[in-house]
Amino acid sequence: MLKMTNLSKVYRTHMIETHALRGFDIHVKEGEFVAVTGPSGSGKTTFLNIAGLLEEFSGGEFLLDGVNVKGMDDNARSKLRNEKLGFIFQGFNLIPDLNLFDNVDVPLRYRGFNAADRKIRIEDALGRVGLASRAKHFPAELSGGQQQRVAIARALAGSPKLLLADEPTGNLDTQMARGVMELLEEINSQGTTILMVTHDPELAARAQRNVHIIDGQVSDLLRETNASLAAVAATV
C-alpha cells in the first residue's frame, strides 16, 4: 500500500541543513493498522506529510498503492491524494461555515462525482459515524468527539485506500477518544489501511503494528512484541 525506501527529507536554509528523515524505510501492507510513535521532533509529522503527498521528499523512493510519486507535479499529487487518501487531523479541521453535509462533500467535489453519487456517499459516510441525523448542523454545534467523527466521515466518503490520522484523539477526553478509536478499528476491519501518528502508548498498543521513529529513522516493532513488553511491565 505504502512503500518508502531510503527516503530522506532535508530542510535547508541559507545557514543550516536539517535532516528530518534519513534512510527512512517503511512498508505498510494493504489492510494494516499501523501506529507511528516517537518523541517530539523525531520526524513523525514530516513522515505523515510526505505519506499524505502534502510535502515533497529530498531523496529515495516512495510508492503509494504501486504509484511512484517521485517528481509528480502538484495537480497529479492532488488527484492522487483525493483518490487514494483520507485525512484525520488532531484539530478536526472542519470548515466552520459549512454544515456537516457540505463538509463531507468537499473531497467529493474535487473528485467530480455527480450530485446524486455525492449525496449517497455523504449520507452513507455520516451514517457510518452515527451522525446521519445531524447533516444540517454546523461543526460549532457538535462536541469534539462528534466533530472528529465528521472528519472521519469526510475522510471515508471518497472510499480511500489509506487513512492517515495525525493524533486523532489528541484533542479529546478519554471516553471520546475511545469511541473514535473503536470507530477507526471498525473501519480498518472493513479493509481500509490506517496509518496513525500518536503520542499515546495505549492507543499505539491497539494497532496491529507499531513504527517507532527516532531521529528521522524507523525502528519497527511488532504489535506482539509490544504486547509482550506490556505484559512484562504489568508483572513487574
Partner: protein, 439 residues
C-alpha cells in the same frame, strides 16, 4: 464547479461581515463615482449618429477681410447666404442642407389655445434623410414644393399633439405669421444627444431643447424670416439695408451640412471647397489665403468643445478615486483571505489543486464585486441625481442607459477580480502541511 464556488462565495459574504461590508462599500463608492462621471462624459461625447457620423460633414470657409488676419486663424463656424446657396447648388456629396433657426407665432383660432411662439428650423428636404429623422405621419416636402418655395411645414410630435391631439394632421393647414401653411409631415420623437445637427444656438442648448417645426430653407428666406440664432459679421457688415442687404452680405448665420457617399468623400469635398474659394477670389471675395475646413460629426463636436474640459477632468479624478478604492480592497481581501489559510490547507489536503483554490477565491472576489456593483449602481443613480441638480442641461445628460448599467456591473466585477488577483495568488501559496498542524 463554478456554481459550487459561486455558492461558497455567497456564503463567505457572511463570514467577517464587517470586513466584507467594508469591501463592498469601498468598491461600490469607487464604482459609483466613476460611473456617474463616465455616464455624463459618455452621453456628452457619444456619437449621436454612429451609422453615418463619418460621412456627414460641416464645411467652413474664411470670408473675413484681410485686416486682422493672422496665420492659423480658424474660419467661421457658419456660412453666409451666398456661400450656403452656392454650396447647395454645388452637387457635392449625395445630400446637402443649409439650416437656420426661425421663430414664428402660430395662430390657432381657438379660444382654448391662444397664439403662441414656436421655435423651428429652416433646412432643405435633404435634412430629414441626412439625419435619419423618423416620421410619425407623412414625410418631407417634395422637390417641386421646395423649388416653388411653397408654404409647407413639418411639425414635431409635441407641436402636432398640441394642435391636433393624437390625430394625423397631414394635409391640414395652420396659420403661421398670418399665412397658411400646409402640413406635410409629423416627425416622431427625435432627440439626438448631443444635438449635433445644430450646435450653434439651437433652440435650447447642446443637449436640451427641441425644434418644433421645419419649413423649407428657401421658403423661409422668401418670407424674409430672420435668423433665430448667432449672426456673425466680420468687417463692414451689410452694405445695403433690409433683408436683401443682409443676405447679400458676408455675414455668416447659416449652418451647413454635406452628406458624403463614404468617409473618403471628406478629402474630395474639401478639395472642392478650396477650388470654390479660388473661383470666388476671382469675383473679389475671400481676401484671405485659402483656409477651408471640412469636419465630420465627431470632429465638429470636438471643434465646438461639446464636452467641457471639467467633465473630462472629473472623470479622470473619479477613476483615480476608484484606483484608491481598489488598493483598499486589495488590502481588505488580503486580510480576509489570509484568515482562511486553514481552510485552504484542508481543501488542498482533501484533493484541491492550486487551480481549484485559485478559482474558488477569485470567484469569491467576483461575488464581492457583483454585490459591490449592485450597490454601486444604486449609488451611481444617487450620484447622477446630484449631478442632474446642477442644471437643466446636466439633467438631460446625467441618465444611465442599459449599456452604462451593464458597464457598471462589469467594471465592478473587473475591479474586484483585479483586486482579488494578489490575495488569491497568496491564498494558493499556502503550505497545507503547515496549516493543518497549526489549526
Amino acid at each position: 464547479m463554478f456554481a459550487y464556488y459561486f455558492t461558497l462565495g455567497l456564503r463567505s459574504l457572511r463570514r467577517n461581515p464587517a470586513l466584507t461590508a467594508l469591501m463592498i462599500v469601498t468598491l461600490a463608492v469607487g464604482v459609483a463615482a466613476s460611473m456617474a462621471t463616465l455616464t455624463v462624459l459618455y452621453v456628452m461625447s457619444g456619437d449621436p449618429i454612429p451609422e453615418k457620423s463619418d460621412r456627414l460633414f460641416v464645411p467652413r470657409v474664411d470670408t473675413a477681410p484681410l485686416v486682422g488676419y493672422a496665420a492659423g486663424d480658424e474660419p467661421s463656424d457658419q456660412l453666409n447666404y451666398t456661400d450656403a446657396t452656392n454650396l447647395l447648388r454645388s452637387g457635392q456629396g449625395v445630400r446637402r442642407t443649409a439650416v437656420y433657426g426661425v421663430g414664428n407665432a402660430i395662430e390657432t383660432g381657438r379660444a382654448d389655445l391662444p397664439p403662441f411662439l414656436a421655435q423651428g428650423v429652416a433646412p432643405t428636404r435633404d435634412f430629414f434623410a441626412m439625419f435619419n429623422v423618423p416620421f410619425l405621419y407623412g414625410g418631407p416636402w417634395d422637390v417641386a414644393t421646395e423649388t416653388a418655395k411653397s408654404n409647407v411645414i413639418v411639425l414635431n410630435r409635441e407641436l402636432s399633439e398640441k394642435l391636433f391631439g393624437k390625430t394625423n394632421p397631414v394635409g391640414k393647414r395652420i396659420t403661421m405669421d398670418s399665412e397658411q401653411w400646409q402640413i406635410v409631415g409629423v416627425i416622431d420623437k427625435w432627440n439626438p444627444l448631443p444635438r449635433y445637427y445644430r450646435l450653434i444656438n439651437g433652440n435650447g442648448g447642446n443637449f436640451s431643447g427641441a425644434d418644433e417645426y421645419f419649413i423649407p430653407f428657401q421658403t423661409a428666406v422668401r418670407h424674409e424670416f430672420s435668423n433665430n440664432g448667432n449672426n456673425n459679421c466680420t468687417g463692414e457688415g451689410p452694405k445695403e439695408p433690409g433683408y436683401q442687404g443682409w443676405i447679400a452680405s458676408e455675414c455668416d448665420w447659416i449652418q451647413f451640412w454635406f452628406e458624403g457617399k463614404s468617409a473618403s468623400d471628406q478629402a474630395r469635398i474639401k478639395e472642392f471647397l478650396a477650388a470654390y474659394v479660388t473661383d470666388q477670389k476671382k469675383l473679389g471675395r475671400f481676401p484671405r489665403p485659402i483656409n477651408v475646413r471640412l469636419e465630420n460629426v465627431m470632429e465638429w463636436m470636438k471643434h465646438l468643445g461639446v464636452v467641457g474640459a471639467d467633465t473630462k477632468l472629473s472623470t479622470w479624478l473619479a477613476f483615480g478615486f476608484l484606483l484608491v478604492c481598489l488598493v483598499n480592497t486589495v488590502g481588505l481581501l488580503l486580510a480576509k483571505f489570509s484568515a482562511r489559510a486553514g481552510e485552504v490547507g484542508v481543501r488542498r489536503a482533501l484533493g484541491a489543486t492550486r487551480g481549484n483554490i485559485f478559482q474558488q477565491f477569485l470567484i469569491e472576489a467576483t461575488v464581492i464585486g457583483l454585490v459591490g456593483g449592485l450597490l454601486g449602481l444604486i449609488l451611481s443613480f444617487g450620484g447622477l441625481w446630484l449631478i442632474s441638480m446642477q442644471s437643466e442641461e446636466m439633467a438631460i445628460v446625467a441618465k444611465m442607459d442599459w449599456a452604462m448599467l451593464a458597464l457598471t456591473l462589469a467594471l465592478s466585477i473587473f475591479a474586484s477580480i483585479l483586486a482579488g488577483l494578489l490575495p488569491t495568488w497568496r491564498a494558493c501559496q499556502v503550505t497545507p502541511a503547515l496549516q493543518l498542524k497549526t489549526q
